[in-house]
């Protein structure tokens, strides 16, 4: 016993692992397992009918498409925000820094109503736009971009802060242009954090309900998101059908997250090799 314990810096490996497993089991695993069990009370035909009707398929396209688009927008502009916050000093910087976290703290319904008020045809921003945003799929992208922003900024920011200026100076001394320095030196160092932020923003957006529901318009085949399908099934006391759609979302999300993680692992290995 003492021999096993001595290999670790912190004592109580078994206790800690046991606690970690129990915690994960209670908070994550058991609820998810229950979802799968409930969904599997359906026959295969009923399951398929619940998850693959044209109306539900349309929601997968919108939910995953808009979440992906929102995450991409956040990856670009979140990086920019992080860059500005780390590299420049300007008055009100602390305030801007605090603003970034607001989407975390704001109840999502409030965010949804505020965004709808802004982007509706008679809203502050909406009245100047030549195209409709609120109550269209574009509105969904806006809401999902809003809630995903902090994930990218907060994962990239610390990495950018730790980045040594010496490296950039060395690059400049060795004759690299500004663009080359960014592309060959800074970006590779930021890429893993950026990818993590992107992944988190994407995962968060896929499951988002509260803020989207107000701005989406919720018209079947056009602007319905998958979480709304789940809610409508619950409203009809169709628990099994609702969990069936949830299972499909879970599997799709898990597959996408796994893919992104593999990408990260692969790019990390390539960098080390290079």
């Amino acid at each position: 016993m003492a021999g096993t314990g001595a290999r670790y810096v912190l004592p109580g490996f078994r206790l800690a692992l046991g606690y970690a497993l129990l915690y994960l089991g209670l908070i994550v695993l058991i609820p998810l397992a229950a979802t799968f069990l409930k969904a599997f009370t359906l026959s295969w035909d009923a399951f398929w009918a619940a998850v693959a009707s044209p109306r539900v398929l349309a929601t997968y396209r919108l939910t995953f498409g808009a979440a992906l688009l929102g995450a991409v927008i956040n990856a670009v502009f979140g990086l920019l925000v992080a860059w500005v916050l780390v590299r420049y000093a300007f008055p009100g910087k602390r305030l801007v820094d605090a603003l970034v976290d607001l989407p975390f703290a704001l109840p999502t319904a409030v965010a949804g109503i505020a965004l709808t008020a802004l982007y509706a045809g008679n809203g502050w921003i909406g009245q100047y736009l030549p195209f409709k945003v609120a109550f269209t799929p574009l509105g969904v992208v806006v809401a999902l971009t809003f809630i995903g922003l902090p994930f990218v900024v907060r994962t990239v920011q610390p990495v950018l802060e730790d980045l040594e200026h010496d490296v950039e100076e060395a690059a400049a001394v060795l004759g690299a242009s500004r663009w080359q320095t960014f592309r060959r030196v800074i970006f590779p160092a930021l890429a893993p954090a950026l990818l993590t932020g992107f992944t988190m923003a994407f995962a968060r957006a896929v499951g988002e309900y509260g803020s989207v529901i107000f701005i989406a318009g919720n018209v079947p085949m056009v602007s319905e998101i998958t979480p709304l399908i789940i809610i409508s099934k619950l409203e009809q006391y169709d628990y099994a059908g609702a969990t069936a759609v949830a299972v499909v979302m879970l599997v799709l999300s898990f597959a996408l997250l796994l893919l992104i993680n593999l990408l990260q692992w692969w790019s990390g290995r390539r960098r080390i090799a290079a």
Partner: protein, 335 residues
């Protein structure tokens, strides 16, 4: 004091008197209710609590839980210990009954099918009624935009859909024609909000649509909260009777020993005072005498019940709103 227990028809007093000795102690009651009933039940509780104290000497605290009607029903099924449920749709109480928490005969235990008040679907149009909306026919015209909450997620939307269907059913011979009518109507809907209040906001504050279809109680509420001259109410020739049923949750009251209190609470809804309070909240009271008192508040309208026009909620639900039902078919061809 040996009044028979079936003396409910004698009114509240009899029940209160019979149960008084057992209930000298202070008590509490949880009422699980739907979203927009918040204001009504706040006032109703303020009316009931002193009345109960005057009659029994016991102080009662009524706690309220509000949320979407079906959400509340699911919470009760999953263990929320509500003594009474006051919903805006019969299916929600049926679902609790199906789970065994309420006796199947709940609709016969109180007057008027256990629904103390009802509302109905009317139209709200913009000032001057620029699109000339007078009846359901006007809603299917090209170029008219409607705001209706989603029938899949709101009782409000379901009743709007059923109102349109009931109208079309009387006008046309076949169900196919009725479906085409309702389909055309829903193709004029650019936004299907998840709930009734959200739809009101979309129409009144975002300026979307020419017509809002919603409960009469909500329309009159809008008149109170927004600038009334911006909107006009249009009452169609026919609409659907949206009754709001109530029930004692048998399993909970038997466990908590609160049956007498719970039953008295619900019966008070049917007394003249309770009925008047409902009318003051723009809900059509069931008692014809009280309805007549408020006749300038409620426009005459031919109301059809879900039982009459659709053969009951269970059938309406299965035929129209279940997955793949008629409502889904409306959108199945859409792109």
């Amino acid at each position: 004091m040996s009044l028979p227990l079936h003396a409910r028809s004698l009114g509240l007093l009899a029940v209160l008197a019979a149960s008084a000795p057992a209930l000298a102690a202070d008590a509490s009651l949880l009422n699980a209710s739907y979203d927009v009933a918040r204001e009504f039940y706040k006032d109703f509780n303020a009316q009931f609590e002193p009345a109960w104290k005057a009659r029994t000497g016991a102080t009662v605290t009524i706690n309220q839980s509000h949320g979407g009607s079906s959400k509340q029903a699911r919470a009760v099924i999953d263990g929320l210990a509500a003594d009474v449920v006051t919903m805006n749709q019969q299916t929600d109480i049926d679902a609790i009954a199906a789970a065994g928490l309420i006796a199947p005969d709940w609709r016969t235990r109180l007057p008027y099918g256990a629904a103390p008040y009802a509302s109905t679907i009317v139209f709200l149009v913009r000032k001057g009624n620029p699109k000339g909306i007078h009846d359901w026919d006007d809603l299917v015209r090209d170029g008219v935009q409607l705001v209706i909450p989603n029938p899949k997620t709101s009782g409000n939307g379901r009743y709007s859909y059923l109102g349109a269907w009931a109208y079309a059913q009387e006008k046309y011979a076949s169900a196919e024609q009725a479906q085409a009518f309702v389909g055309k109507l829903f193709h004029n809907v650019p936004v299907l909000d998840a709930g009734g209040r959200a739809a009101t906001t979309t129409f009144a504050q975002r300026g979307i649509g020419d017509v809002l279809l919603t409960f009469e109680s909500e329309v009159l509420q809008i008149a109170k909260e927004f600038n009334t001259t911006d909107f006009e109410t249009v009452v169609p020739s026919l609409s659907v009777d949206a009754d709001a049923p109530v029930a004692v949750v048998d399993r909970v009251v038997d466990k908590r020993g609160s049956r007498a209190l719970a039953e008295a609470y619900l019966q008070a809804l049917f007394t003249p005072d309770g009925q008047r309070l409902a009318a003051r909240h723009y809900l059509r009271p069931r008692d014809p005498a009280i309805l007549a008192e408020f006749r300038d508040r409620f426009a005459p309208i031919r109301l059809v019940t879900v039982d009459q026009a659709f053969g009951g909620w269970a059938r309406a639900q299965a035929e129209h709103f279940a997955d793949g039902g008629r409502f889904d078919q409306i959108y199945a061809g859409a792109k």
